[in-house]
Structures are given as C-alpha cells and as structure tokens.
C-alpha cells in the first residue's frame, strides 16, 4: 500500500484532507478544526521555544568565563528571567497539550473534533494575546524578577516591565484553563461507543490528568499575579510587609500553582512515552491501569507538595516535615510509570526508530531528574544545595530531559499523521543522539557545580568552577544544534519527504485508522449506528462512530503483535 501511494503521481486523484481542503489565511485564522488549531499553536510555540533558547544561549555564553564580560548583572537578571518565563509559560506548559493533544486527542477517542471547537480557537487567540503582552515586556526593556515574581521585589523593588509580563501570563492562564476544560468535556462526552474509560489510550489519560491541574491550579496563579499587578499599579498592599502583609503568603499561592505546573509539563510527556514505548516494543503496555491511575495520582499529589520550594523561606519545621514526606510520596506514582515502561520493554522486539530513541532518553533522564528531586525533598540535604546549580540541573533534567524529549518524540511519532510525510529516519536518529549527548554534557556538570556550592542566578563565579562551566556551555551549543537539526529536516520533509501511509508504525490507536493526513472531520466513514439501550445517544452528536470497540480490542494503543 505504501509503494502504491508513492508511485501514484501526486496530482492524480489527490485525496482531500484537512490541509488541502481550503487555502488562504482566512481559512486558517477562522478555522474550527482542532488539527489546524494545533498547527497554529505549533507555529507560535516553536517561535517561543527558539526565543527562549536564544536567552539560554546568551546565559551560557556569559557563564563561559568567570568574569562579567558579555553582560552585566542587570542584563543577566533579565536574561534568566525572560528565559524562564518564556520557556515555562509559553513553551513547556502549552507544548504537548495544545499541539499534540489538540491534534490527536479527538482522533484517539474517535471523535470528529473537540467538544467546543470555537472555544478551542478562542483559546489560541487568547494565547497569542498573552504572547504579545509578554513580548512587549521582553522587547521594551525586559523584566528581572526571576520567573517566580517573588514579592516584595516584584511589587516595590523592580523597575522593569513586571505588569505587562504578569498580564501576559494572566491572559495565557485563561488559554490553559479553556484548553483543559475542553479536553475534560471531550473525554467525558465524546468517546466512541464502546471506548470505555479503561480502554482509553494512555496519552488521553495523561492529558485528562493534566487538564485537571489546568483548571484547578491556573486560576490561583492568575489571581496571585493579578494581585501583584494591582499592588504595583494602584499601590494597594496585599503582600507588602510595610502593611503587615506577608511575602511568604505570595510564595505559598505561587507554588500552589507552580508546583502542579511542573506536572502539567511532565505528565503529557509521560503520556507520549506511554504511547511510543508499547508501539516500538511491539507489546501492549505492561500494567495499563497502573500507568493510567498513576497519572491521576501524580495530579492529585502534585497539589500537596508546594511547600518543598520553601524549606528555607521561613515556614514552620512541621510544615516542612509534612511537605518533605508528601514530596517523597510523589516519587511512588512516578516510579510506577518508569517500572511499567521498563517491563513493557522487557522481551519486546524493540525497534530503535527516532521516536523510540527520544522515549528511551526520556526514561533515563527523567529517572535521574526524579531521583535528584528526592535529594532536594530531604530537609537536611536541601539546605546544602538550595538555590545552587544542583537545583538548576535537577529541574532541567525534568523539564528539558523529560518534557522536551517527550515533546520531540511525540512530534516525530505523529509527524506522518500531521503532515502526511515521513521525516528522514537516519537524520532523525542522529538528531536524537545529539540532543541526548548535548543535554547531558550541558546539565550533568551543573549537578557537580551545585554540589560544590555554585549559587544560581549570578553572572560571575570563582575561577575554580570554570572547567565545569565550559563543559556546560559546550554541551549547550551541541544541544542547540540538536534542536535546529529536527527543525530543518522536518521542514524539508514537508516538501521532499516520502508520503506517509495511514499507519507507518503499525500502531493500533484510533488515530492510525484514518488516512495521513486525516480528512477534516477525522474519519471518512460515519455510519450512524443504533445504540441498543443507550438513551443518551442523542446527546453525543459529534461522535463519529466509525469503530465500535469490541471487547477483544487491546487496551490502550499498543501495537498489535499481529501487524
């Protein structure tokens, strides 16, 4: 079938799909198709990723030498702040849910679109407005509070563009909330007939857990940042110590969102890995229910651990004790996932295609990141490594080694579905290796630096740290190359890549049952089916019932070994 499609001249009877059904800028900007909206997100998010990466590059260049030669302290403060804000709020948080989730979630559950297509488009526009505000803050002087906006510095200390940046994140928060709301309603109401909860693909479970965090956590950061803005703008004191306000209270509210936000970033990546590993190991996922429910457990426990960011900020020792214990508890569902992926790999016939390389990289790097998280969750050790490069290395192992590896793996995995073209496999494997090596060279030295006592957020450092910093900067340039390479060949593949068949990987998810790229409403066949005894059938208008899940259908979207 693949060869037949390749031989056929492209002009002869080209199938209509979501990309060529309509042309012109209007058909994109006013689209209600979740697949097109996902691509709109992809453009903006990729731009933000490289902007954030540029700031990271400047930071690493400054740290090449112990002295302040490239930038001075003020500029350096702005660089790491803007790197953090852009990467966290405008890349990591929306990356997988808004791009990959938007694209494949409705297809995975056999629906024609999300529950609220207009709302989906609106959340993209809201996201863009948030981006515009933040870029305004970035290009008219920057902001230097750190991405955490700690008061009172952010309210009465800093003279930089705090309000535009806070407004940008506030607006962006609504985009997240609406996306999460849309996903939750879609998963509840629009599953194909017979697709019960415990047959959902694991990526859907991960997105569902993420959406819960979106709608429960994001409002709190929104109101907190709004208060910071009000305090700056109208001199209303809420966190102002001069009025008896408590800056620590800000930290509580901030981390009440921002720690769960870490799980917003990592859970979808775990979902991607849970799709890729069974597919390329040619086995069904080991411990399906454990992986599914560990996502929910992480989402739940994630809300109870925020205090571990504040061990040395002045909270009571008893609170710290409990937060420390709860932080250790999060390791349990995380480890459940890692063990189940490993067990899925065991005796599988493992194919080392590019998505799988990223997934394997994820498992290794996430394990390192997670275990060093336990170091930080221990009260005594945290006092020693607090605010050092150890922390920086730890969360980059989770964010970059985890979330970004999962994102790249997912992009490669679903690229044939999204574009209808195959990417060049050899080059992709090479890029995956470069990313893995560059990443480790960048961030592993930072563990050692932090343990030796180099504090974060300084642009100068003692001479004895230079060797490790040079290694780190060298790694960062390799890593940057590793990110540019996929960008290049993926764009190249749009025109020159081989045409992708419907199911290039031999996967079993519903999204692989439809042509690549899919038609506008995802599935060609929409047979109305009588649903025996289902009185609620009237209330599922948009479900395209192309497949009734039989009880023999494998759980999740594992690859059938028969293929």
């Amino acid at each position: 079938m693949q060869t037949a499609e390749q031989i056929a001249p492209p002009s002869a009877e080209r199938p209509v799909h979501y990309l060529n059904v309509d042309y012109g800028i209007r058909s994109w900007l006013f689209t209600k198709d979740h697949k097109r909206i996902a691509l709109l997100y992809l453009f903006v998010i990729t731009g933000m990723f490289f902007l954030g990466g540029l700031f990271a590059l400047l930071i690493r260049l400054e740290l090449l030498t112990p002295a302040a030669d490239l930038v001075q302290a003020d500029t350096y403060n702005k660089l790491f702040t803007m790197h953090g804000i852009i990467m966290v709020f405008f890349f990591l948080i929306p990356s997988i849910p808004a791009v990959l989730g938007n694209f494949v979630l409705p297809m995975m559950i056999g629906a024609r679109d999300l529950a609220f297509p207009r709302l989906n488009l609106a959340s993209w526009y809201i996201f863009v407005v948030g981006v515009v505000f933040t870029l305004w803050a970035v290009f008219t002087g920057g902001i230097d509070t750190g991405w955490t906006f700690y008061t009172p510095y952010s309210t009465i200390g800093s003279n930089t563009k705090v309000i535009p940046a806070a407004v940008g994140i506030f607006i962006n928060g609504f985009s997240s909330i609406l996306t999460g709301l849309n996903f939750i309603v879609t998963v509840h109401r629009m599953r194909a007939p017979g697709l019960t909860w415990l047959r959902l693909p694991l990526f859907v479970w991960a997105l569902y857990a993420t959406s819960i965090i979106f709608i429960l956590g994001t409002p709190v950061i929104a109101i907190t940042l709004a208060l910071v803005g009000v305090e700056r703008g109208f001199h209303v004191g809420i966190f102002d110590p001069a009025l008896g306000g408590d800056p620590i209270l800000f930290q509580h509210l901030f981390w009440f969102y921002s720690h769960p936000a870490v799980y917003i970033m990592i859970l979808p990546s775990m979902g991607v890995v849970s799709e890729i590993v069974p597919c390329f190991a040619r086995k069904s996922p080991f411990g399906y229910a454990f992986i599914a429910f560990s996502s929910l457990a992480i989402a739940f426990l994630g809300f109870l651990v925020w205090g571990h960011h504040m061990f040395v900020a002045g909270q009571s020792a008893y609170a710290s004790l409990i937060f420390s214990f709860l932080s250790f508890a999060v390791a349990i569902p995380s480890a459940v996932k890692v063990f189940n992926w490993t067990a899925t790999l065991y005796r599988g016939s493992v194919l080392l295609d590019a998505p799988m390389l990223y997934a394997l990289g994820f498992i290794g790097l996430f394990t390192i990141g997670g275990l060093t998280g336990l170091f930080l969750a221990s009260l005594g050790l945290d006092v020693h490594v607090h605010d050092t490069y150890f922390v920086v290395a730890h969360f980059h192992y989770i964010m970059v080694g985890g979330a970004v590896m999962g994102y790249l793996g997912g992009i490669h995995y679903w690229w044939p579905k999204i574009t209808g073209r195959m990417y060049p496999e050899t080059l992709a494997r090479l890029a995956a290796l470069i990313v893995f090596l560059g990443f480790n060279l960048t961030f592993f030295p930072q563990f050692i630096l932090g343990y030796l006592g180099m504090p974060r957020r300084y642009h100068v450092y003692p001479d004895e740290f230079q060797v490790l910093n040079v290694m780190s900067t060298a790694g960062a340039s390799i890593l940057g190359l590793g990110y540019l390479l996929p960008m290049t060949y993926l764009i190249w593949s749009l025109r020159y890549g081989a045409r992708a068949p419907a199911n290039p990987w031999g996967a079993t998810g519903l999204e692989w049952q439809t042509p690549s790229p899919p038609p506008t409403e995802n599935f060609a066949i929409t047979r109305p089916r009588s649903r025996r005894g289902r009185r609620s059938s009237r209330r599922r208008p948009r479900t395209s019932s192309m497949t009734r899940f039989s009880s023999t259908t494998r759980r999740g979207s594992a690859c059938g070994s028969s293929s």
Binding site: P219, A222, I223, F234, L243, G244
Partner: protein
C-alpha cells in the same frame, strides 16, 4: 459550565485564602475596619442580589416550559435591572470610601490604631468586591445579549442551554457575594 465554575471557585479561592490568613493574624484591625462599612447598604445589596437570582431562576424556568420570548426577556431584564441597582449601590459605597480616605494607597488615612493592617483589610475589600463587581458587569453584558435573543424567540423548551448556563453563572456570582457579605461586613457584629 460546571467545570468552568470550578475554576472560578479556585480563582476566588486564592483571595479567600489570603483573607483567612490575614484575618487570623490581625483580627482586631479587621474588626475595626469592618465596622466602618455601611451595613444598611450592604444588606440592601444582598437582598437585591438574591432578588435578581429569583428573577434569573424564573427566566430559566420560563425558557424551559414555554416559548414566550417576551416573558423570558422580561425576567432577564428584571435581573439586569437588579444587577444594575447592586452595582449602583456598590458605586455609592466606593464613593464614600474615597471621601473617607479609606482607599488604600498614598492617600489612605485612618484615625484609629493599627493603620497598616486596616489598610490591608481595605486592600482586600476593594480587590474582592471589585473582582465580584467585574463578574457582575460581565454578567450584565451576557444578559443583554440573551434578552435580545429571547425577544427574537430563540429560546423555548427545545433550546434553552444559554439561558440555563447564564443562570448558573449568575447564581455563582450571587453565592460569592453571600460569602463576601458576612466576611467583609459582619465579622465584628456578632456581639
């Protein structure tokens, strides 16, 4: 819509948390500050808002059982009117605060003791009631659109979802006030 209201609860929840923390830290200052609020206006506003919830519920009910667009629009307009009265009274209260220099900021002035913590109270007062009023204004706008749609006969027993959802929203905003009122106005009046 229910999911959306959950996010709204969390949104206000942050503020209620701040209120709880500061009130338990500075109960006396909060009590003094609270007793300067005009209880008559506050109570009137509570009654007005509960009345508007009644008319909103009537509008939803009418839409569910009949196609009488004018009656639906009438109830919606009554809701808008009561909401407008609420906002008007709120504006009067805000104006009083400006005259008494109880608005936090450079012009804040307080005769009694503990001025910082009293200012903290008024910061919370303005942020919480202001956010609530903003929700009311949004609700008024939605109600206006609904009333026009109702006059055109869009709603009836077969299609009343927008009216019902707006009703949920309006009741939610109402409930927020039901919490705000005792917390801000009544904390010191139990004796």
């Amino acid at each position: 819509m229910w999911v959306f209201l959950v996010t709204e609860i969390l949104f206000f929840g942050g503020l209620f948390t701040i209120y709880t923390v500061y009130r338990s830290l500075y109960p006396h200052a909060f009590g003094h500050a609270s007793s300067t609020l005009d209880l008559t206006l506050g109570t009137t506003n509570t009654a007005v808002l509960i009345g508007s919830s009644l008319t909103m519920a009537l509008a939803v009910h009418t839409a569910q059982v009949s196609r009488n667009g004018r009656l639906i629009a009438l109830f919606l307009c009554a809701t808008m009117l009561l909401g407008g009265v609420f906002l008007g009274i709120k504006a009067v209260e805000y104006a009083q605060k400006f005259h008494e220099h109880h608005v936090p900021g450079p012009y804040f002035h307080w005769e009694g003791g503990d001025p910082q913590h009293v200012e903290l109270y008024f910061s919370l007062y303005f942020v919480m009631t202001g956010l609530h009023a903003l929700h009311m204004v949004i609700g008024e706008g939605v109600l206006a659109v609904l009333a026009i749609m109702a006059l055109r006969g869009r709603f009836g027993p077969s299609y009343f979802t927008p009216v019902e959802l707006t009703g949920l929203y309006w009741h939610f905003v109402d409930i927020i006030w039901i919490f705000l009122f005792p917390l801000l106005y009544l904390v010191e009046r139990h004796s």
